[in-house]
């Protein structure tokens, strides 16, 4: 359960807290547990709810105006300094497998607000479709692209500075 939570929640401490909360809830509600289902399934369903609650709360805290300084306010076109020249990717497969590159990418992801990274990562995590992810995170699909969009803008900037310009 801890491993499962850790792979979904950015900070280690929060994942641990959520697992702990799960056991507390389970402990209080053990009467309502129906023997028809497996205890493991039941615990995971509680944990899943806990994680959704956590993200829902963190989205509310992180609601910021969309623009994020990448676009001009009056025309919604790119700001002058937000132009990145073509990246010298070379052999794409080789670069994607490069350990150092992966480390830089991971570092860039860790710099994102937790829920943004969650949005980006969930997509690849278990072949979930967008609707399912949105449900789990308690957001609308439009919010979901916006989140990915913002995350991508930041990731792009971060990769540009820390990898492609070096």
């Amino acid at each position: 359960m801890l491993q499962w939570a850790r792979s979904r929640v950015p900070q280690k401490e929060i994942a641990e807290d959520l697992v702990q909360d799960t056991f507390i809830v389970a402990f209080e509600k053990i009467d309502t547990f129906q023997e028809r289902s497996q205890i493991k399934t039941w615990l995971f369903s509680i944990l899943k709810n806990k994680i959704s609650d956590y993200f829902r709360a963190s989205f509310k805290m992180e609601t910021r105006p969309l623009n994020d300084n990448f676009f001009l306010a009056e025309s919604d076109s790119w700001k002058k300094n937000e132009f990145y020249h073509s990246w010298d990717i070379g052999d794409e497969g080789q670069l994607l497998d490069n350990v150092e590159f992966k480390a830089v990418l991971e570092e860039c992801q860790q710099k994102l607000p937790g829920s943004w990274n969650h949005a980006v990562v969930l997509k690849y995590f278990s072949e979930k479709d967008a609707n399912e992810i949105c449900k789990e995170m308690g957001i609308t699909t439009t919010n979901y692209w916006q989140l990915i969009h913002r995350a991508k803008l930041q990731l792009r900037k971060c990769l540009d500075i820390n990898w492609f310009k070096k």
Partner: protein
Amino acid sequence: MRKSLHSIFLSCLKASLLVEKQQVSGLNISEALQLKAHLMMCKRCTEYKLQSVFISKGIKTKMESGGFNIQISNVELDKVQTKILSNLF
């Protein structure tokens, strides 16, 4: 002038949003056409699309190769277990 152009050809903000939507759930016909028209004229958004797709691939590859597999040591596990038990009873 700029405003009316945007309503036909999208702003860069909208276009780059559609680039993400396209990767997540696909676009409907009118969105796809609008985006295509915008990308034909806009070098910056074309670059954005290339880089965005590349980043997606990067994240995917990283996760498939186990970059996101979190290993939890037994020591750590014991610590959490003790903490939970002490809070329960």
